[in-house]
């Protein structure tokens, strides 16, 4: 569970996120929507400890990210929007590095690395430097790293961008399974089809403020039933 409590964040005098309250419950796939520059990435960066919080609190599985960062960080896995990290390491070295940080026993590590990377089709490339990977392959290595330490909470920033249809399908299935086991899946996206297919609940943010939070069904009911999600989205973010 992720609890965002009255959080505000300013950048050089400009408010990026304003008085945000949001609870991401267990057992659900939670979609975080908004146009470019709405404050999605800022919010996710505050949840994951990359950005300090100006006002308010954020807890992940009950651990406050600001006061108990280590405990909080051990409970979530994060896929950043840009997977261009540790480019000079080989795929296998990156995964081993993650294994060391989350203290995963060697035998479990071997088994899971092989299983995960084979299902994403990058096993053969593990001995190459991440630098030589395509965008999609880099994304897959980072996702594999998250799944390797099997955290309760998944936080994914645009996780499906750059993935081929098969890997995209695999990841979506994995997200569903994870949520079905009573865990938290929180992800941001622009792609409305994905939201429609995947999400149990959504939050829409615009100009740093929460515009809507609720179940998919509610959102559609709130507007005329025959409207497409696209129209609803545009209405929520453009017409204030």
């Amino acid at each position: 569970m992720i609890t965002i409590n009255n959080v505000t964040k300013e950048y050089a005098g400009k408010t990026a996120v304003k008085n945000l309250d949001l609870v991401v419950p267990d057992g659900k796939i939670f979609g975080f929507l908004g146009p470019n520059g709405a404050g999605k990435s800022t919010t996710i960066k505050m949840i994951t400890g990359i950005l300090p919080i100006d006002e308010g609190t954020i807890t992940v599985n009950g651990h406050d990210i600001a006061s108990h960062p280590m405990k909080a960080k051990k409970t979530f896995g994060y896929v950043p929007d840009s997977p261009d990290i540790f480019l000079r390491l080989k795929g296998i070295e990156y995964l081993n590095f993650i294994g060391d940080i989350f203290e995963i026993p060697k035998n479990i590590r071997e088994e899971k690395i092989e299983h995960l990377t084979k299902s994403f089709g990058i096993f053969e490339a593990l001995d190459d430097h991440i630098q030589t990977y395509s965008h999609g392959m880099r994304q897959k290595v980072v996702v594999s790293g998250v799944l390797l330490h099997d955290p309760d909470v998944w936080i994914l920033d645009e996780p499906l961008s750059g993935l081929d249809p098969k890997s995209s399908f695999t990841l979506k299935e994995m997200m569903r399974e994870h949520a079905a086991k009573g865990n938290t899946v929180f992800f941001s996206t622009h792609v409305l089809e994905v939201v429609e297919q995947l999400c149990d609940e959504v939050a829409i943010i615009n100009k740093g403020r929460l515009q809507f939070r609720g179940e998919m069904k509610e959102m559609k009911e709130k507007f005329e039933a025959d409207e497409t999600l696209e129209k609803v989205f545009l209405e929520l973010t453009n017409h204030e």
């Binding site: 000079r88 070295e93 060391d100």
Partner: protein, 550 residues
């Protein structure tokens, strides 16, 4: 043509733009320019003595044109060399070419754009030597106005032929040998070659400290070997044509040779563009590579091992440094440069016999003074420690991973300090070998010196890392930016040498203090204090800066 010029302008702008540079950096450039003025004065006076001596020695026998021959032949070699590294970096390693390929440019247009930056390098290089030497030669030979016009024209066209030859060779090589596949390795190789060149150049300079004497020797040699020089000059047409054009500037022959030179240079440009059309694209398009290696569970199992987090971080740092060509060159090669240079010089001195003086110098000084001298010298050598002042900046866009992964900030930072210390250890081992074998230091002095050096190294690593954490440069697109025009290394050196220069001077002047033991203990205590203070400072920076760094 218009399009080509625009392309050249855009490409140059991308390389030399000052936008995005802080005002501090701009001030730095200005300061650098100011510092260069006395330096260029030294070079010019050195060249003046050389040219004057050569001219007065050679003119009576009518061999003075050998000076020009020597200049042009030497410039050909230097320009070939400079062309090699700048063509490789501009044509093959600059990441921008892939961005330009999809646009509707003819290959020759892209080639012209790509050649602009190397040409600027070539003109800067030949400007340093050719402009003053040709001017000085003109003054000493009392040449007329036409000589200077010819000299100017030759200055403009002379780099064309060496550039064309090197460019065609490299394009051919890249096309067929496909060393582009090992882009990183080629980069390191080219870089190492540059360092060998610099070391060699320095040795030559060192061996020739007295320009008058050397020039006289050279003049004698030229007078004796003039036939040989003429053969060599004759073998390289541009050198021959240029020499003859300037020598006969006052008559028709000179004009003929100048026209010949201009003609072959124009031919060179056409040859470069035509060959480039055929060769360049085939070489550069093969740059992105895939892997043909196979990987299986057995291999995977071998690569997977559990290790403590600190060790994992340390290995990650070392791998990144050793695998990134820029980091490898700037950190590993650069830090070894000082010690290697020292060894080469010491070996030269010892073979020339003047080396015995060094050992006896140490004995003469007494143990305290020797230790203090060795200490401050080593601090100077280790103080420029690029691994430490690039600690945080090296991470670039990977930095946020240190924030969202559950790794304590202390582990992240101290794994970096440790990395810098281990890299310094390489230099220290080299210095230790020198101390034991070439200088044959007394054992006690050696032990005291090495112990102090190891402590001092930790101190420099702390200072460098703290400075980088205080103001890191993370938003780089090219690794060079981590080192380029940052004055952090200078600040680090100032702090280190400033602090310990003061203490060493203090100990030096306490006459009652003479024993090696007391001096070592005092220095260790001072170092321990400096290390403790830097630790506290670094810890404070970790608390205040770590989370806010981006």
């Amino acid at each position: 043509m218009n399009k080509t010029l625009r392309l050249i302008r855009t490409m140059l702008k991308m390389q030399y733009s000052m936008t995005g540079k802080s005002s501090g950096e701009k001030i730095g450039y200005v300061l650098l320019g100011v510092f260069l003025i006395p330096f260029s004065g030294i070079i010019i006076s050195f060249l003046n003595v050389t040219v004057e001596t050569l001219y007065t020695q050679l003119a009576p026998s009518g061999n003075e044109n050998a000076i020009l021959g020597l200049l042009f032949a030497g410039m050909t070699i230097v320009l070939l060399f400079v062309s090699m590294s700048s063509i490789l970096s501009s044509f093959y390693f600059a990441e921008d070419i892939e961005g330009f390929i999809p646009y509707p440019f003819y290959p020759y247009q892209l080639l012209a754009g790509k050649a602009a930056a190397p040409f600027i390098n070539l003109y800067l290089t030949s400007g340093v030597l050719m402009v003053p030497i040709l001017t000085l030669y003109g003054i000493h030979s009392g040449a007329g106005f036409i000589y200077y016009i010819y000299a100017l024209l030759l200055f403009v066209v002379f780099p064309v032929i060496p550039f064309t030859i090197m460019a065609i060779l490299l394009m051919f090589f890249m096309r067929f040998a496909n060393i582009a596949k090992n882009k990183d390795r080629t980069k390191v190789f080219a870089g190492l070659l540059t360092f060998v060149f610099i070391i060699g150049f320095n040795i030559i300079i060192r061996l020739n400290q007295n320009p008058t004497q050397t020039a006289e020797g050279a003049a004698q040699l030229i007078a004796q070997q003039n036939g040989l020089l003429q053969v060599i000059t004759g073998m390289i047409p541009p050198v021959y044509f240029s020499t003859m054009a300037l020598q006969n500037a006052e008559n028709l022959n000179g004009l003929i040779f100048l026209v010949l030179m201009l003609t072959i240079s124009t031919g060179g440009i056409f040859l470069f563009l035509t060959a480039g059309q055929k060769l360049y694209f085939k070489g550069v398009l093969g740059l992105t590579t895939g892997s043909t290696k196979t990987f299986d569970s057995g291999k995977a199992a071998k690569k997977i091992k559990a290790q403590p987090v600190f060790l994992a971080l340390l290995l990650k740092e070392l791998r990144t440094i050793f695998r990134t060509p820029t980091f490898f060159m700037q950190i590993i090669v650069q830090s070894l440069f000082g010690p290697v240079f020292l060894i080469v010089i010491l070996l030269f001195e010892s073979s020339s016999g003047s080396f015995g003086a060094l050992s006896s110098l140490l004995e003469q000084f007494g143990k305290k003074t020797s230790l203090l001298l060795l200490f401050i010298f080593t601090l100077f050598l280790l103080g420029v420690n690029p691994a430490s002042y690039s600690s945080v900046s090296r991470d670039g866009r990977s930095w946020p991973a240190n924030l969202y992964l559950p790794i304590p900030a202390q582990s992240v930072i101290f794994s970096k300090v440790m990395t810098a210390w281990l890299i310094n250890l390489l230099s220290i081992i080299l210095l230790a070998v020198v101390g034991l074998t070439i200088i044959q230091m007394p054992p006690l002095l050696f032990i005291a010196w090495i112990t102090l050096t190891l402590l001092a190294s930790w101190f420099t690593c702390l200072v460098g890392t703290a400075l980088d954490l205080n103001d890191p440069k993370l938003n780089w697109t090219d690794e060079q930016e981590v080192f380029k025009s940052r004055f952090i290394s200078l600040i680090a050196l100032l702090i280190e040498i400033g602090t310990f220069g003061f203490f060493v001077l203090l100990l030096w002047n306490i006459d009652t203090l003479q024993s090696l033991w007391m001096t070592s203990i005092l220095l260790s205590l001072l170092l321990a204090a400096a290390i403790a203070i830097s630790h506290v400072a670094l810890q404070k920076l970790i608390r205040t800066k770590f989370l806010y760094t981006r």
